[in-house]
């Protein structure tokens, strides 16, 4: 920023940033500051927090194998879901942008993608149970057709069902930004590529994919933060058998262990920020957005 010539001419600038600064201060900086502060407090059994300065919460967490197990499990889910939602999101967006000739149809189909979002998160998730259960649709169909003689158990209350629910819930967050990026691609670029002798795959690889990377980065960011911050889907869909980093936080809250939950939240925040930073290193989203 250029140095201010006088305080008077700076006033409008300060006023302009003031609303956002106030909002961010009250709803972001202060809460996160409190979480960091509490993470150094001491925990007294079932009473809660005692002001103090101790590193015990962090030491406890980092030396506890349970924490590592939970983070491993979360990271596993994140990577798998990221891969699946990317493949789905990319091809759905590609289809909508480049294959549907009529704009109205494209918008109509795009809206169809949002239909599941007309009901609540919980309903979308719970509704998988009658489909995947032992006496569910799939098992009943397979049993009746004679394809299997015993219900397939890993369909529900397993890592599989957790991933199904995540993909169902989060694919749209991948479709929207990629769709947005692709829609900005000048169609004449594709024609030029074809004229220059590129194959269909060559066009996708050399033209569409690089020009969509802003959308991919944003979509990936959505999916990563959503999966890493989730404990509800993983608890419900695994029948409580799998955990996530956030479910570790939830378990601590169950026993009013706010300090350790806060420490865990800080660790999770740092990890998510690192992932976000590395995504933004790969793609300069700001530059791409003003393109």
């Amino acid at each position: 920023m250029t140095p201010a010539p006088s305080s008077r001419s700076m006033l409008p600038t300060y006023l302009q940033v003031a609303p956002l600064t106030v909002v961010l201060t009250f709803f972001f900086i202060i809460p996160v500051g409190l979480v960091v502060l509490v993470s150094f407090f001491r925990y007294q059994m079932l009473v809660g927090i005692v002001p103090d300065f101790t590193l015990k919460n962090y030491v406890d967490l980092l030396t506890n194998p349970t924490t590592w197990t939970l983070y491993r499990s979360t990271l596993k889910f994140t990577l798998i879901v990221l891969a699946i939602t990317f493949v789905l999101g990319f091809w759905i967006a590609y289809f909508l942008v480049f294959h549907v000739r009529n704009l109205l149809t494209a918008i109509g189909l795009f809206l169809v993608c949002t239909v599941p979002f007309w009901t609540s998160n919980i309903i979308r998730m719970i509704s998988w149970r009658p489909v995947l259960g032992k006496e569910g649709l799939i098992n009943t169909a397979l049993l009746n057709s004679g394809a299997i003689d015993r219900p397939i158990e890993w369909l529900l209350y397993s890592d599989f069902s957790v991933i199904v629910a995540y993909v169902h819930l989060f694919t749209l967050f991948m479709i929207v930004p990629i769709f947005n990026s692709m829609a900005r691609i000048d169609k004449s670029l594709l024609e030029a590529a074809v004229d220059a002798g590129a194959t269909r795959w060559g066009v996708i690889w050399n033209v569409v994919l690089p020009l969509s990377k802003t959308g991919i980065a944003l979509g990936a960011l959505f999916v990563v933060t959503l999966v890493m911050g989730d404990f509800f889907v993983v608890t419900v869909m695994s029948g409580g058998l799998s955990g996530s980093a956030t479910s570790g936080i939830f378990n601590d809250l169950q026993f009013l262990n706010y300090p350790r939950a806060a420490a865990n939240a800080v660790i999770l925040l740092i990890i998510v920020l690192l992932i976000a930073a590395s995504i933004f290193r790969l793609v300069d989203v700001r530059k791409e957005l003003v393109r």
């Binding site: 059994m45 079932l46 009473v47 809660g48 194998p65 349970t66 197990t69 939970l70 499990s73 149970r129 009658p130 259960g133 032992k134 006496e135 158990e153 529900l156 209350y157 608890t235 029948g239 409580g240 058998l241 955990g243 479910s247 570790g248 378990n251 809250l253 169950q254 026993f255 009013l256 262990n257």
Partner: protein, 428 residues
């Protein structure tokens, strides 16, 4: 405050609550309320806060109708209640606590002593709470039995008295004896022991509750019954005992023994009703709920006995004056019949069995309390049929059930260790 209190108390004494309550038999056994005649009483609102199974809007509706002031219900989960009691006690007036939760609430000074003289029907309340006996015999002391925590020395002494005193930490609430729920049509053999919860016969078809203090009890009952482990006192396990029990649970989990771990009432209902599991930890209203869906489900009595639990209604420390008078009114009303009749239908028992029985029809009384075969269909509180004529309640009569409580839900000394271990089980 004292002046108003004195005046109102005089009025309470003149109008005998008991006489009113006892004189009327039948469904509307509640009369004689309200006994506090203050013009501004109708402006009082009591916030009753507790867990989903006992904090029922129907009770608030009936109380508001009978008492002339407003009673509201606010549902929280187990940690949520402790959280509110410790961090935000002014947000509730009546705490519907489990006995073990009083071990946190009382030393914290969250509750005030309840003057027993002001609870008119105290003498009628079950000796399980007031004397620690049942059917003339001493009730089990393994775990946190209600009697050990109900009394305190005085109004502001935030501790537990060793014997009977004039002051209570809480007024007895609902209670029950828990066991395993089974699908009799799917288990394929007779179920008679807690050991069946971890029997290889039901691999992949069982679930255990994911509430550490309760889940560990079910696990210990099962491990002991199966002869795998022994415990000095299941009501207060040692670190070694907890480590061994959780190790067994983790081994079972890795082996795919548990189909799920459930944390809420509705999850246990869904698991059972959909046939995902055939034997699991269960709460009585969940069994009722499964049956109300037309699915066969039995709350199976087991030879090792039941896991008992109880709730108490505590008065928050901040209550005073008119609001405190209203709270006493409410506590008196709570054990005067209507609530007892209502909760009986979801499988719980009232601390005042006589008034609860008076609030039930003859058929219901016979079925729920006396161990008799139903003479007509039995329905849930919401009106769905749960049992047909001719059926007998699982576990028999009230006396038979409570004489077999082996251990009470509790908060062990090693609770923090238990929570850490339970997290390992969860993450395994």
């Amino acid at each position: 405050m004292k002046k108003t209190g004195g005046l109102l108390n005089g009025m309470v004494t003149r109008r005998s609550v008991l006489k009113g309550g006892a004189a009327v038999a039948g469904v509307t056994a509640v009369t004689g309320f309200p006994t506090v005649w203050a013009q501004n009483l109708k402006d009082v609102t009591l916030m009753h806060t507790g867990m989903s199974y006992s904090t029922l809007p129907d009770i608030a509706r009936q109380a508001t109708e009978d008492l002339g002031f407003k009673v509201e219900m606010s549902v929280v989960d187990h940690p949520g209640l402790l959280n509110r009691l410790v961090q935000d006690p002014k947000s509730l007036d009546i705490a519907d606590l489990e006995i073990w939760q009083s071990k946190v609430a009382v030393p914290q000074g969250a509750l005030q002593g309840i003057e027993i003289a002001k609870i008119k029907n105290w003498g009628e309340l079950t000796p399980l709470y007031t004397e620690g006996t049942f059917g003339g015999k001493e009730a089990s002391r393994q775990g946190d039995s209600p009697f050990e925590y109900i009394y305190r020395e005085g109004m502001d002494t935030n501790g537990f008295a060793s014997g009977v005193t004039e002051w209570a930490n809480f007024c007895p609430g609902v209670y029950n004896a828990d066991t395993l729920g089974i699908r009799p049509d799917l288990v394929g053999r007779e179920i008679s022991s807690w050991a069946d919860l971890i029997s290889a016969d039901f691999k992949g078809k069982t679930a255990i509750q994911n509430i550490p203090t309760n889940g560990i009890m079910d696990a210990m009952m099962a491990c002991e019954a199966a002869g795998l482990l022994t415990y000095v006192d299941k009501g207060n396990p040692t670190q070694d005992e907890l480590t061994a029990t959780i190790a067994k649970l983790i081994e079972l989990k890795k082996d795919g023994h548990f189909r799920a771990l459930w944390s809420t009432f509705d999850e246990s209902v869904n698991l059972m009703a959909s046939g995902e599991v055939v034997i699991q930890s269960m709460w009585s209203p969940a069994v009722t709920s499964v049956k109300a869906q037309g699915v066969k489900c039995v709350y199976q009595p087991l030879k090792e006995g039941y896991r008992g639990w109880g709730n108490g209604l505590g008065m928050l420390a901040h209550l005073e004056g008119l609001k405190r008078d209203a709270a006493y009114e409410y506590l008196n009303w709570y054990n005067s019949g209507w609530v007892g009749g209502f909760i009986a239908k979801q499988g719980y028992y009232s601390s005042n069995p006589a008034s609860a029985m008076a609030a039930l029809s003859e058929n219901e009384r016979g079925f729920f309390y006396e161990g008799k075969a139903a003479t007509a269909d039995i329905t849930s509180p919401t009106g769905e049929k749960t049992n047909s004529a001719g059926e007998v309640r699982d576990g028999g009569s009230y006396e038979e059930r409570f004489s077999k409580v082996a251990v009470w839900n509790n908060l062990p000394d090693e609770a923090e260790f238990l929570y850490a271990k339970w997290n390992e089980f969860n993450a395994a």
